[in-house]
Homo-oligomer: 359 residues x 4
């Protein structure tokens, strides 16, 4: 209820702060009998981890995951799976100068007012570092969904600032530091120089991230509130820095007519996907399509006006190690959240509807 | 868990179908001692109800609400408040011809596949009629929030198809059939003729709806999953036909630099509101700003291809009474969902943080 | 969260007060496709209803149930099932003289202190009348469990005051006004004269109720907190007037040795049932055995000392219509709660473990 | 939903198995600003830990707790508090001979049938060792409740087998290895010789444990399902080996008359406590009184009949290190569960009723 648990039947309860001794989570509700080891989880954490290119934060974290429970002789037992990641490169002193001030665009002001506590260590609990345990948990969900339904997840950055990135294939997203779904060398070079200039300016930039899921069974989603699209919106908007979420045609729907928007069905299946794979809050079996807007990082070297805890005016410049575009590392996180939503709804669906036959 | 309850501490559990005998809800968790009668609820239902202009469905429903419990001698008792609304204009036979087919863009296909049941009566449970109990429940939340914090809600249509509606004042939204926040007669006339033409075409159109809340206390929202923006996204995306949600600068954040986006703070308060009143998932005390995309109505007279339950191809034209732009009546619904989110988080906040002092 | 919802996947949310216009509930999570009509529910309500013998309250209520939603063409649709029961014999004025005082043994004192509201109408929300919607909801669970697993429920009164009632067969419980599982006419006559004397004394008495479930599948229950026995204890202790709950050997376990208590297993199955059909919080497939203590009714004519809202001493005698032994009507309620627990756990079990094969 | 989280607003999610690498929990919902360090938690764990006398298991565990998150500069921050306890004396090989058989009275049979997994390592997840994290979490709740309301907890063993232990003072419970609330040397000597004989017999025995809470504020508990007594029953029955729970007069209520049972109130307060401090599911402000029956340990050296996974008959004798009376170490666990229930309801109460004034 205090917001640190994601999901209802497949739950992920996380703990930890950016610069505390450790972060981690408890995954509850995983079906028993799934083959699982750290080797299934580590690759997803490696996709997300910092320090992998000059365009992201230089914090050095191995993000090595340890499974503490819930697995016996290589298989899940149906009991809680605890994941532990020790923080290795915490530097509390980096943040010493900001203890008494509220950094613009950050959660400092709101945490202080809500909890009466100001944990200045790298954003404390509000740091994007806390997405690591979720990515670990989602690796379990991804494996189960793939084994059960063949479900796959892909995603990438489709816009950086004003630069719209042309789509070629999700496969290319793994081949450049931006998760850009293209193998066009000019585009990548353009992104690189854009980021290099940005860093020189001491500034940051927003981005658009798209994620998709394929081979999603029809029928997932619980109307009328826990609709699949509602839960996806909740999951995505909850990712640090996300300011907007679209499903399918999204905001383009505003200018569409019904004669255009409603996806026709033939014996071969749906003929378009304006719905983004969800109708009435329930999956159609088509590709689930989600797009999101990520705001520019708030930690920048450019000075901005703010106040301290006593209300006195101050100027804030943020040094330390920060992502100049948090969107760059957001793809594996967004995939993870989508996987968690689908996993949860797969279990919820069979709780109520396991006996349904429609043939 | 089957998705028919909204909220966690201030919960609204709804029931009913578009053409069943009645719809309604149970509101649980309302603080005791609030003065409450049907007269507090009916005006909100009247704002949402059908048949109020030629631009919306002509279904005739008084949407008269009856309080069945939870109020004694004019005050809430702290026990569940049940609201009952009898359906008066149900016409099951209108839908006789669509029992065996899946209307494009509708939930027919997904409900059939999920539940093995095809309730053809006006969309059954998936009908937007089911937003009526929520609007009723939210009237209670609005009253409590206003008495407690002075919180107020406003909203309106800011785009109809390609027509961007200029903003003058939310007060004007009550003075035209579109909830348009303008008193410019030319704009209204333009909207009217646009809708008239659309009806002649047997087609439908999308819209953009904005809602805001003012005098929201700082500190509402539960990181790191039940963030206030995440919960708002969940609430809004769960409204029928919504395909996209933005908070604050929303998708415009993509092209913003950090030096522009991060809202500066001075002794006079925040100097801009790109955050939409939420930082780190917690309310800042500024205006909460939400925008959403609503797809065009799927029920149109224009024929579209589909299949029946056996997979045979059919052409579908939908007659009966439908809103050609569901966005028109969406404003009170979106306000209601925002009020429910804030109410729930106001209670959640004081559960954990009632003793916090920051002065 | 305010305590008016029972269950997690098969949920029953109730509303209403003893002397308000109506009581009822919303049942959410029922699997679709179950044949259901009022005729399935009414008989269970009739078993519980008041006024059926001279040994219970003379309040006259038909307790006629109306299904408002969730059923289409005689089958459940998977959407919420709302049950409505209008109160017919409410007499607010009966309680006029107790508005300002706290009746000993009643919830008056605690409701007043918790909510700041004193609803004197027959105990308001705390009345045992509020078990009626639950009994209705449980009729749905019972039907589904019987169709799915052949699960059956039985129960009865096994002790009235000091009188231990010898057990013959649960079938006899339906043949006397006490739900006594015996057809011994002398025993029944003894109970009748005991109750007649009690009524003359203006006093009340406690009772022991036992309930069992047979053909419960092995594997229900979620360790380590939502154990099946823990949830049964919660369900039973939540029934009005219950002060103690036992599973299997119960308090007799204290004096047992391990060599006696642990139920041996042979190829024919378990050789005893000290466990009450639950080991490690999970059903064994044996009979589930539950026993509970019910306190004497607090509403008696015998005067007792109390205070009023201002703290002044008063003497309280309670007139009106009351059960001199609330245990008499408790059997169908206890069966109902057991059915709801099993139903909920049947759905929870298959959510996580639908794929488990142990043969 | 898979049963590994206790509580609704102050939640404890545990993980771990008896002989895995570590056990622990995440405590969510703790109010911010509470002074907290390991020194507040360790003493409670020490009261529960094994190996402290010859009458309990000789497993050697320091049960050293590490706080991984949620505390900054000695105070809780309002974010999740993770507690980690490394297992130090796990001996998986002790259990090698029982992998294929189901020990009578144990959860082996039910876990196997539920999950299709047989974790033979000391009962795996079903071991009473998993109460350690809960005791740790409850230390936080106890501290908060004491600071806020002055609430205190006491408990002890009041019966061992047939030996009823006379009550002198809860203070004495800390002064003997049985948590017996007496300083009568003869009674203690009697208990010691009883246990010594039992060990020689290779057998085990049941016990009765009582726990109380004082200075509990009036008004805690959420009718009509999450009543305080219902939640206490759930908490206690969920403790390993508990088979019965009583509140206040408990099963003695059966033979009581209403004229005796209903606690009278005078200006000095309640004149008796048959209610056990709870009326209508809400705390009265009196002492909360709970009693429970604990079955004899199932792990005994005396051979008993059982079957293996293939259904073949086997004889089972359990060697290894076991408590001959699990009731001996149950007192701190029962206190812990009571503290967690009260903590959770203290937060729930103020969510809904923070504004209530009754004076």
């Amino acid at each position: 209820m205090s917001g640190n648990t994601f999901g209802s039947l497949f739950t992920v309860t996380t703990f930890g702060e950016s610069h505390g001794p450790a972060i981690g989570c408890i995954v509850d509700g995983c079906p028993p009998g799934l083959e699982l080891s750290e080797a299934d989880i580590q690759p997803e954490l490696d996709r997300r981890k910092p320090g992998t290119s000059r365009h992201v934060t230089q914090r050095q974290e191995a993000d090595r995951v340890e499974i503490l429970s819930g697995v016996y002789e290589g298989k899940t037992t149906g009991t809680p799976i605890a994941l532990l990641i020790r923080n290795e490169d915490q530097r509390s002193k980096d943040y010493g100068n900001i203890v008494e001030t509220f950094r613009p665009g950050h959660a400092d002001f709101t945490y202080w007012n809500k909890y009466g506590i100001r944990d200045p260590r790298g954003g404390g609990r509000s740091s994007a570092r806390l997405t690591a345990p979720v990515v670990g948990a989602a690796a379990i969900a991804k494996k189960w969904l793939f084994q059960k339904f063949g479900t796959t997840f892909h995603g990438g950055m489709t816009q950086l600032g004003e630069i719209v990135i042309p789509f070629s294939s999700w496969d290319f997203a793994a081949q450049n530091p931006f998760f850009a779904p293209t193998n066009d060398a000019d585009v990548i070079a353009n992104l690189e120089s854009y980021m290099d200039n940005l860093r020189k300016d001491g500034d940051s930039i927003g981005a658009r991230i798209d994620v998709v899921a394929n081979n999603v069974p029809v029928g997932l989603g619980e109307p009328i509130y826990d609709k699949l699209d509602a839960e996806i919106a909740y999951a995505m908007m909850g990712i640090n820095a996300v300011k907007g979420v679209e499903i399918g045609a999204g905001f383009a729907s505003i200018a569409q007519r019904g004669s255009e928007h409603g996806d026709e069905i033939t014996a071969e299946g749906f003929q378009s996907n304006n719905s983004g794979g969800i109708l009435g809050g329930i999956s159609t079996g088509q590709e689930i399509r989600v797009s999101m807007a990520i705001k520019p990082t708030s930690s920048i070297r450019t000075p901005k006006r703010s106040i301290d805890k006593l209300g006195n005016p101050v100027m804030v410049e943020t040094f330390g190690r920060h992502d100049p575009c948090v969107g760059i590392r957001a793809t594996p996180i967004a995939e993870a959240m989508l996987a968690l939503v689908l996993m949860d709804h797969a279990l919820r669906h069979r709780a109520q509807c396991a006996d349904v036959k429609v043939d």
